[in-house]
């Protein structure tokens, strides 16, 4: 066989017309994904995108790979079934904050704790886009929407902290339009063997425009974001003059002058759960928002353990004819 030819990002786009609202953050994510696929040289026929329902979940239709647009909230469960049968496939789950954290919260929980080898991309726009703008489980208290005209009262769930509580071993974050940062995160997620959970802040231009502007807006980004890197001090700011310091007395994070107190800046350790918890909990404007790979710990992936746990690794080594006879039998002549 010939060596597979190198594909470009364009080659991963299907012939389907993309139908998100003009200006939707989903376009940028689609681009980042096709670029990542090209970069890693993904084989289209070994790549499967599985989604639930929502604007985000239309994703698979736009890729020239295998694609399964399932039902609301259940993509992680379908993806698990796929991986059990064929652990070789590179399986991506695309979901939204409603799909993944409202109706689908349970499947996400169990897929993460089992550590099924899938890359979960959760497009968080803090709103139900497809059903026309109701508040979602990540919407902030006070969100006015058709179903919460007086403002929502539900305390939002933090996608990252939820994943951590679920036992996720890989947790990362990116921003729709941050090509480089998002690309890096996608690549790391794909390379990880196990459940890789990626929260992508995505702008819904129609129902929740600029909800992340407090940290994504160009004018504030440098001071409102910290890009974490394993083994590196947690420094940020336009002039890289701000650092995150762990106050051992109060057991909390604080922003300090990184130039004045370089040794007091916490060094990121993606294997430490306390750091993950602290980073994931940070909220603007008091604290910067943590981006990049926040947590990564090795573990056995469920699908490989699954195969191994079956006596014959799922191979058929006996015939039914034999197995039926592994008991008392008698002959009638």
């Amino acid at each position: 066989m010939n060596a597979p030819e190198k594909l470009s990002a364009k080659d991963y786009a299907s012939s389907q017309e993309v139908r998100w609202c003009p200006g939707c953050g989903d376009y940028a994510i689609l681009k980042a994904v096709t670029q990542t696929l090209a970069k890693i040289g993904a084989r289209p026929e070994k790549t499967v995108f599985i989604s639930g329902i929502g604007c985000a979940s239309r994703f698979p239709y736009y890729l020239e790979t295998y694609g399964f647009h399932t039902i609301h909230g259940r993509a992680p469960a379908v993806a698990t079934g796929v991986k059990l049968v064929n652990p070789e496939l590179d399986v991506w789950v695309v979901t939204g904050d409603g799909d993944g954290l409202s109706i689908g919260g349970n499947h996400l929980l169990h897929t993460l704790r089992r550590n099924v080898d899938v890359n979960v991309l959760l497009f968080n726009n803090e709103i139900y886009g497809l059903t026309k703008g109701q508040f979602s489980p990540t919407s902030r208290v006070g969100t006015r929407s058709p179903s919460s005209p007086a403002g929502s009262i539900d305390e939002p769930v933090s996608a990252g902290l939820f994943a951590l509580g679920a036992g996720a071993r890989f947790i990362a974050r990116g921003i729709d339009t941050d090509k480089v940062g998002l690309g890096d995160v996608l690549e790391a997620a794909q390379a990880y063997r196990g459940a890789a959970f990626v929260e992508i802040f995505q702008n819904c231009i129609v129902y929740n425009e600029n909800v992340f502007a407090a940290f994504t807006d160009k004018s504030v980004a440098a001071d409102a974001q910290v890009r974490v890197e394993h083994g590196q001090p947690l420094i940020f700011g336009k002039d890289r003059d701000k650092g995150l310091h762990f106050n051992a007395g109060s057991l909390t994070l604080e922003v300090i002058d990184a130039k004045a107190r370089p040794d007091d800046v916490l060094v990121h350790d993606r294997t430490n759960p306390v750091i993950a918890q602290l980073l994931l909990a940070m909220q603007p404007p008091q604290m910067p928002v943590a981006l990049g790979v926040i947590r990564q710990v090795a573990g056995t992936s469920y699908d490989s353990a699954f195969v191994a746990s079956h006596v014959t690794q799922l191979a058929r080594t006996k015939s039914i004819t034999d197995v039926l006879r592994q008991t008392n039998t008698w002959r009638v002549e």
């Binding site: 059990l84 064929n86 169990h110």
Partner: protein, 633 residues
């Protein structure tokens, strides 16, 4: 109280025995061993265990009684029997709950050692029934079972509780004597079972032999007849005993073998579906994967994912769990993926009566989804039949690329019978519509939606296949490419295709046959599922009076000839363990006029109940007309 000798018939075409005791009394084990000896002796049999609803109820309570019923004799034995003629009661509670069930003049063996004041009151007896005269119409054999067992095993120095636990073998010894059985089969089994403990092996063997010897002695022989039970004429071949849920598990594995694919079984525990999960978890060597999901929705979705990836995806539950799966079944319909959904029905609605049997999920199976979402539905009728039905379900799913609902129930799941080993060479391989890549097509997607014009099954293309990548989902799809389509005409076509596909199954299934009686006559008794055995027995004696038994395996679509067949009968009676669901189906699909005979007590039909109902109908229509005779039994 004295043991009263009653004349009993010593030669039996068939006889029903019920063993009943506390969960700790080893009744189930005793039952299965008695059955092993029955098989060796050449009788046909059918068995049904009757577990308590509680996990482990306090000893001595009526709700803690565990029972095992065996019907044995000349074949065909098709039910576990109506009223037991022999009862072995290990304690007052077992006696109490069994009395209403047994035959008028049954023989009762009781363990008198347990009839203490405390136990009597736990069982709700104010007076000792052994003394009160309440048992006068029965033949009572009172045995100090506990004491005798302790004596029999005293030499081994077991703890008192271990020694006491041998009493089921003592009782088994007695029972084997009553039925003139030799001990060999059981002895071999005991040796095998306790091979790790010489002590327990010896003690149980001693108890077994002592019980047997007790029968031989004058003490018992004077009072009790030795039963001679007729043997059955089986077709020559190799046999084993089989429980419905095991046959179902083996059938699914066999189907995967016939399809040469992995069987991926994705489930969530629920009564009475769990035995299937447990059995399949032991069949790894057959290429069976078992995934216990977080809930029923995840289970069906994982099975769909497995099918999408090329395995035989199977999911299983009982009514409440199936309800949760219905949304996802729609996805499998839309995506045209094979999927087998096994429903082991139980009493409902809601949580209902989890440990009781019922066949009330037929509506759910046939009509129970949003939108026009037809799927094939087939039902198993007997424990061994579960094997073939499982193969059929997988075959239909793969051939037509559709979800298939397989209906079993709590009775079938736990009932057992002798079963002739299948010859796998008799079964055709299971195949799907082949993959054909049309190089002229713009993209590979359309290859997945090429359909066999006869089966309407599409090509089962799986990820990994180069150049045939396609996208599919729950939104209405273009009939040729699978892409999203909001087109009105396309939706009409797809709706028709989904209906036609299920109808197409009828071209591949056998015509409806008649189980007992002629192909025309005065009365067709039409059933489905686990009522088979009782209906068969009830009709058997009435075939000459123009009554036939028709039993439907394929519920959707119905066999093509069924309407014409039923039209040959003056009346149609439908006994069901529900409020009349098959009756609805037949009225809907065939427009026939039917009468329902419903039973919703969580219990199978008794043969006598059916006989009475049939006789009532016969009486009502008068004794004139007798249809063509064409006995098939």
């Amino acid at each position: 109280m004295e043991t009263t000798a009653i004349d009993m018939q010593a030669n039996n075409e068939a006889i029903v025995i019920r063993l009943a005791g506390d969960s700790g009394d080893g009744v189930q084990l005793m039952g299965t061993q008695f059955v092993a000896s029955t098989a060796a002796a050449g009788s046909d049999f059918a068995t049904f265990p009757d577990y308590p609803a509680e996990i482990r109820a306090p000893a001595g309570t009526t709700f803690g009684v565990s029972a095992y019923q065996i019907n044995l004799g000349a074949g065909p034995i098709t039910t576990a029997g109506d009223a037991p003629q022999v009862l072995v009661a290990f304690n007052p509670a077992a006696l109490k709950v069994s009395l209403p069930l047994i035959a008028r003049n049954a023989l009762i063996v009781v363990n008198t050692d347990t009839f203490s004041k405390r136990n009597l009151s736990k069982a709700g007896y104010d007076e000792d029934p052994l003394q009160s005269g309440e048992l006068d119409r029965f033949q009572v054999v009172a045995i100090d079972l506990s004491r005798l067992t302790l004596e029999a095993v005293s030499e081994f120095g077991l703890s008192k509780s271990d020694a006491g636990r041998c009493k089921n073998f003592y009782a088994l010894g007695v029972l084997l004597w009553m039925f003139g059985r030799d001990l060999e089969t059981i002895e071999r089994w005991v040796e095998q079972r306790f091979k790790k403990s010489d002590l327990l092996k010896a003690a149980n063997l001693a108890a077994l032999r002592a019980g047997n010897a007790y029968g031989e002695t004058a003490e018992l022989a004077a009072a009790v007849p030795q039963y001679r039970v007729a043997t059955a004429t089986f077709e020559p071949g190799e046999y084993r005993g089989i429980r419905g849920s095991d046959a179902l598990a083996f059938g699914l594995a066999a189907a995967a073998e016939l399809a040469n694919r992995t069987l991926m079984f994705c489930s969530y525990p629920i009564t009475p579906a769990s035995p299937l999960l447990h059995r399949l978890a032991q069949l790894g060597e057959l290429g069976v994967g078992v995934f216990q999901a977080e809930d029923e929705i995840a289970a069906v979705c994982a099975a769909i994912g497995a099918s999408y990836a090329g395995a035989i995806g199977v999911t299983s539950s009982s009514g409440p769990g199936i309800a949760l799966k219905t949304e996802a079944i729609g996805l499998a319909i839309n995506a045209e993926l094979p999927l087998v959904i096994v429903n082991s029905q139980r009493g409902g609605p809601s949580t209902g009566l989890p440990t009781k049997t019922e066949q009330s999920d037929l509506y759910q199976a046939v009509y129970g989804r949003n939108a026009d979402a037809p799927i094939p539905v087939i039902a198993a009728r007997q424990p061994g039949d579960c094997f073939d039905v499982a193969i059929e379900a997988v075959r239909i799913a793969v051939r037509h690329m559709t979800p298939v609902m397989l209906l079993s129930d709590g009775y079938l799941a736990n009932a057992a019978e002798p079963w002739q080993m299948p010859n796998m060479a008799d079964y055709a391989p299971i195949t799907s519509t082949p993959y054909v890549r049309d190089d002229a097509a713009a993209d590979g997607a359309s290859a997945a939606f090429r359909r066999n014009p006869e089966t309407l099954g599409r090509a089962w293309i799986v990820p990994g296949q180069a150049d045939a990548m396609y996208r599919v989902g729950g939104l209405e799809k273009d009939i040729a490419t699978g892409n999203i389509s909001y087109d009105a005409e396309n939706h009409a076509q797809m709706s028709q295709l989904r209906a036609d596909k299920v109808d197409a199954v009828a071209d591949f299934i056998p015509e409806q046959s008649v189980e007992v009686g002629g192909t025309s006559g005065r009365l067709a008794v039409v059933g489905w599922g686990s009522t088979y055995g009782s209906i068969f027995q009830a009709v058997r004696g009435r075939a000459s009076r123009g009554v036939s038994h028709i039993h439907i395996r394929y519920l959707a679509p119905l066999p093509k000839n069924l309407g014409a067949l039923l039209a040959q009968f003056d009346r149609v009676l439908i006994p069901e363990m529900n409020m009349g669901q098959l009756a609805t189906l037949l009225r809907d699909k065939l427009g026939v006029d039917v009468e329902s005979l419903t039973k919703v007590t969580g219990q199978p039909f008794m043969v006598t109940e059916l006989e009475a109902a049939i006789d009532d109908v016969l009486a009502a229509i008068g004794a004139q007309h007798v249809g063509t005779q064409n006995e098939r039994t």
